[in-house]
Symmetry: C2
Subunit: 350 residues, 2 copies
Amino acid sequence: MDRLLRAHIAAFAALATLAFSAGAQADELQARANALFKPIPAQAPALPGNQATAARVALGKALYFDRRLSKSQQISCNSCHSIGAGGADQQRTSIGHHWQRGVRNSPTTFNSAFNFVQFWDGRAKDLTEQAGGPMQNPVEMANTPAAVVATLKSIPGYLPRFKAAFPGEADPITFDNTTKAIAVFEATLTTPNAPFDKFLRGDANALTAAQKEGLRTFMDKGCIACHRGVNAGGEMYAKFGLVKAPGKEIRPDADKGRQAVSKSPDDAFVYKVPTLRNIVLTAPYFHSGKVRDLGEAVRIMGETQLGQALSDADVSSIVMFLGSLTGDQPKVSYPELPPSGPATPAPDYP
Amino acid sequence: MDRLLRAHIAAFAALATLAFSAGAQADELQARANALFKPIPAQAPALPGNQATAARVALGKALYFDRRLSKSQQISCNSCHSIGAGGADQQRTSIGHHWQRGVRNSPTTFNSAFNFVQFWDGRAKDLTEQAGGPMQNPVEMANTPAAVVATLKSIPGYLPRFKAAFPGEADPITFDNTTKAIAVFEATLTTPNAPFDKFLRGDANALTAAQKEGLRTFMDKGCIACHRGVNAGGEMYAKFGLVKAPGKEIRPDADKGRQAVSKSPDDAFVYKVPTLRNIVLTAPYFHSGKVRDLGEAVRIMGETQLGQALSDADVSSIVMFLGSLTGDQPKVSYPELPPSGPATPAPDYP
């Protein structure tokens, strides 16, 4: 994998040395960008086998905000993936059950349907599988599928919502349906119409001169070896420290990334390449969440992934481009959650 | 024929008497209720000296959801006063800084502008004063006014919002303006058009027969000695245990209520009478949050405040009426929070 990535980077760097005629530069930049990136589509992406009916999306939204999915009844999906904070939580690593800290920075739910796998280490193949994880993680929501289902069944207002979302099912309140509904709501959390998307669609003035310069730097330096496609990331794995290992405070030895999933020594410190969409909204950065400054994150990437000491000017330029990746944030009305019933378990707390 | 006619006439006469008496009864019930209660107004109430401009309400909404007002940057107003859960948090007592438990159940922010004072013990005279409390409470948001202001000033997106909300002020990001904006947003969180409001406004069919019976029971038993006015509560103090002390598990000895504020022995176990608006959405009940069942709460009230052992039928009847106090829940779109800046303090965590 290392060798393949390095070859990719070399190829892109070679491409970058080619000269372009001044007159064709703008067109050329758009053409180059369009060969590497795709705009966020206006329509939410469809999830295979999980129909995004209005009833199912509405149910998923309620579940996304319902803290009763956690053992303490204090933590919801929105706790760590806040709709108001770019789909993340502004924390180094998230605060979970009984104020325990998770080990990795909360990845954004926005545009997450475009990722090729889910979680930093890709241990979930899709959003539906992902949605079941945090509910069961002892340092996150600390619950069990059986307890989640029992709680949802005890809340009288949920049965009609599940029936509408999963018509024809005799017993629709299941853990699978819970994760399906959450996933289908999450798939609606896309952020189209970023300046960069408008540029890709042909509006040459959608980016400022500095952002265009930043895009060029981003491509020329080889960032696009990993950060490309609709999500400017999210379509491959890469080792954090491909060329040079980052400091241990940023890449702690204890977290071996994908290796814990695949058991392959080749996957040590390998993570899913994160999306750069809305990146200015989702500090702090990296799986460890240890870097708060976007420029510093770019500098570290240059050093660890590309073996380059990026100049301050290059870093600033790339940061300018990254600012063009902020799209329209999802418009979400706060859902009315149905009240607990007499059989609803009490929140578990000490 | 005569006999048939007579029978018809007799039947009509009986029906007319019934209808008349039912009508008279409904009118009488409405008149009694209107002498004690007022409907929630369609318009949000004005706060003296705090103009509800669109810019100020929008700023207040962002602040209400912004966790960076807390020391940990994890807890917002909405954490304990959730828009999706009737303006409260479904917890016995709220979970605050480092998972510490508060001592009292989170009161709803909905319709709170109609309360004559704020907090269970009335230690804040209005919403603006109230809003400053939880930010500074060590077991809640654990912050300081100076740190709140420093954080808000470090977030570049807030300055234009404060300028728009407080035009003409040279240095608008202050703690006072922060609490003013939050208060003016909270004042919009009203829940008009409950069935009971429609009944008060003259729609005799807005309540079911059982709810009307419950309203009658509620008035006849004397609940209206304390629970009346626009909020069916919130306009006076009362001792919890006026006639008979409740069990210590429900009224712990350590919490003396208003006495801690007034220092008067007469105020031992005295609390602001809470609103009954949306009461079915805001379990658990009482300042201790120890009672989860609304019927049980009603039974305890009968015993402790009125010295009456309410029958099961009376309890059920009153609970039916309380269900008619659920109004239109506030429609709140989730705000887009401005990202932190380079000078924004890191969240404080262990």
